[in-house]
């Protein structure tokens, strides 16, 4: 008995992706020598403000995901656990702090000694409380300021009062940031950066929208790699330019009828965090099952359509309060329902990530409700974003195979 799995198809654009990401990290490394200040920012934090004020911006979540993807997490998480951070809290936090304790980093392979030391840390609690706890650890460690925006969670309608509150908190960052930067904020520069971010976000959305084509020219697994510029470089012109290049290649794939998953038989939606240490294995299994994960909430979480250069603070507040993760379940359900229809998916995979309750959306009956509403079957995978001690290879493999068997019978 043998099954030949189709190959994963790389993008020619990846060469350029590696170049711009390499340059991004090299700039972070050169920053202090060039007199540039470094700000650490949460991935859906007010990065535009930081770029506009001349900071190099580093995203610890990106670093933590790299630790996960490099399969370094298992050796460093216990070091953070020993420091008092429970194995039950965010494994991005424990991976990153554990790596710091060990003096290890995937950036060392890129010639950096590790993450650049911050001059200031800026969080937004729109994702979770853990980001604040995470940043405060480093603030204590290095005696640098830790500033933040306290966006509420489980938001229903993003109304005027909420946007005003978040805009006010964002504007309140300016003065302390100016003190660190040693310069005043130039609002015109902020408008310019927001314009670039808006352009990046539009291009990134266009990339993800390509997954709606049948067969899909890219998958969620491609998305987890391709999303890097949309997260860490969204306020820099290279990111939007890169997506123009990728879009051209995707257009060509569509014209040529090239499928990301050769012989695409089923189309699936991924809800929840990626399992960074298992992306390759999972992608390979889906290829062999000829099931394409054509869309995800996760990759779409860096689409900020509300950004408006004409109204910088209010539009940033609206954009960063509208993201899926900080919304109420009824809003999340509406969103997923719309995605299921738009991407014409046959079923939904929910990843219940043990250490990420804030982005494990199947814990309050949502998966069952969505199946009742849409008629699309679902599968829950128990795992984690980074902590592979919480992941069972065999159970996940069997679950995915059985789910595709189930789709096959109907």
């Amino acid at each position: 008995m043998s099954t030949t799995a189709p190959e994963r198809k790389d993008f020619a654009a990846n060469k350029r992706l590696r170049e711009i990401m390499g340059e991004y990290f090299a700039q972070l490394g050169r920053g202090p020598a060039e007199g540039k200040k470094t700000a650490w920012c949460t991935s859906v934090g007010p990065a535009e403000l930081l770029w506009a004020m001349g900071f190099n911006v580093f995203f610890p979540e990106n670093h933590a995901a790299m630790i996960g993807a490099a399969r370094m997490a298992a050796e460093v998480i216990p070091l953070a656990n020993a420091k008092g951070f429970s194995p039950d809290v965010c494994s991005y936090l424990t991976s990153d702090i554990g790596a710091y304790v060990k003096g290890a980093s995937p950036l060392q392979k890129m010639g950096l000694s590790g993450p650049p030391k911050p001059d200031v840390l800026v969080f937004n609690t729109n994702q979770c409380r853990d980001v604040k706890d995470w940043f405060q650890f480093y603030a204590r460690e290095w005696n640098v300021p830790c500033l933040g925006i306290h966006t509420p969670r489980a938001i229903g309608e993003v109304d005027r009062a909420l946007v005003q509150f978040v805009a006010h908190e964002t504007a309140a960052l300016v003065e302390p940031l100016e003190a660190v930067a040693g310069a005043k904020l130039d609002v015109d520069r902020l408008r310019e950066v927001i314009g670039i971010s808006r352009r990046t976000t539009e291009r990134w959305k266009a990339v993800l929208d390509m997954g709606a084509r049948a067969p899909a020219p890219l998958t969620f697994f491609d998305g987890t790699i391709q999303m890097a510029p949309a997260v860490v470089m969204r306020g820099l012109p290279e990111a939007a330019d890169y997506y123009d290049l990728l879009l051209a290649e995707l257009d060509q794939r569509v014209r040529d009828g090239v499928a990301a998953v050769e012989g695409e038989r089923f189309r699936l939606y991924w809800e929840g965090m990626p399992i960074w240490g298992k992306l390759s294995a999972l992608s390979g299994q889906m290829l062999s099952l000829r099931a394409a994960v054509v869309a995800s909430t996760y990759c779409n979480s860096w689409v900020f359509e509300a950004l408006d250069p004409n109204d910088p603070f209010t539009s940033m507040a609206e954009a960063y309060s509208s993201i899926f993760i900080c919304r109420s379940d009824d809003r999340k359900e509406r969103y997923i329902e719309e995605m299921i229809a738009r991407y014409r998916v046959d079923g939904v995979i929910y990843h219940d990530a043990k250490t990420c309750p804030n982005n494990s959306n199947c814990r309050y009956g949502l998966a069952q409700r969505m199946m009742d509403r849409t008629g699309k079957p679902f599968l829950v995978i128990n795992g984690d974003l980074n902590d592979m001690r919480l992941y069972s290879e065999e159970q996940t493999r069997t679950n995915l195979e059985a789910f595709v068997e189930q789709l096959d019978q109907s």
């Binding site: 008995m1 679902f378 128990n382 919480l390 065999e394 069997t398 059985a402 068997e405």
Partner: protein, 265 residues
């Protein structure tokens, strides 16, 4: 008459059946899964055929399932254990059913509609609670052979409840109960109840309830406790421990018949 085979290489044991065209079991074997699944499968097949007086008989189509499903060189195809347990259970009870399969390493809840189509399924999390491994650990702690558990639990008149989710913590609870002088049979019945509690929290039951797997095969008291808890009769197919293998053999038979359908063209 053609023969079809199925093997379920599970976490603990490998089960193999050979069936005929009428779907009757004509040979079967069970042995420890061991560490060399290919060899285990080969030996199980030889043993089953020899015991049935069919040594050397060709098996026309053979499917594998279970953890070791990818390691059976002579299998023509494979299905997951979820598919196979559902298939066997529906073959025995052709109606809308929920199958609870309690294996050594995992539990499964499988929903099938009245036509035998799967509408959903769940496996336990990465945790041994509610599985055969849990009962094996309890037997070890009590210095018993797992085969003795059911007989002892049947004698219990005062069940000792276990509160813990976790196999390791449950074992600690048991040590406390031993120290407090609680009778062994009461502890075992408490452990059985704990398995049932884990099943209850996995999913809801739709349609008739069917139980499969080795734990059910060896512990009739557990079947009664499940019936009591779910407040409905539990249907147990013949050879519950062989259901996965039997389901695989049913798939093999179907596949053979499809491949050998007379051409209508």
């Amino acid at each position: 008459m053609p023969l079809f085979g199925g093997i379920d290489i599970g976490a603990s044991t490998a089960k193999l059946v050979v069936i005929d065209g009428q779907r009757r079991v004509v040979a079967r074997a069970m042995r420890r899964s061991g560490v060399d699944y290919a060899q285990t499968a080969q030996r199980a097949l030889e043993e089953a055929l020899a015991e049935a007086g069919l040594t050397g008989a060709p098996v026309d189509r053979f499917f594998s399932t279970g953890y070791g499903r990818d390691n059976v060189p002579f299998a023509h195809d494979r299905r997951t254990e979820i598919a196979c347990h559902g298939k066997a259970a529906f073959h025995a009870f052709p109606q809308a059913i929920t199958v609870l399969d309690i294996g050594a390493q995992d539990c499964k809840v499988i929903h099938l509609d009245a036509a035998g189509r799967r509408t959903g399924f769940k496996m336990n999390r990465k945790c041994a609670a509610g599985t055969g491994a849990f009962l094996e650990e309890i037997a070890y702690r009590l210095d018993l052979n797992p085969a003795e558990l059911n007989g002892l639990a049947e004698r219990s008149v005062r069940e000792a409840p276990l509160g813990s989710f976790c196999t390791v913590f449950a074992a600690t609870e048991i040590l406390e109960k031993i120290r407090a002088g609680v009778k062994v049979e009461d502890i075992i019945k408490g452990a059985f109840r704990s398995v049932v509690k884990r099943l209850v929290e996995m999913d809801t039951i739709t349609g008739a309830l069917v139980l499969t797997g080795g734990v059910v095969a060896h512990n009739p008291l557990l079947v009664r406790l499940i019936e009591e808890t779910f407040n409905r009769p539990a249907l147990v197919p013949p050879l519950p421990q062989f259901c996965g293998a039997y389901g695989a053999a049913l798939y093999a038979a179907e596949s053979f018949e499809q491949l050998n359908q007379p051409s209508t063209g």
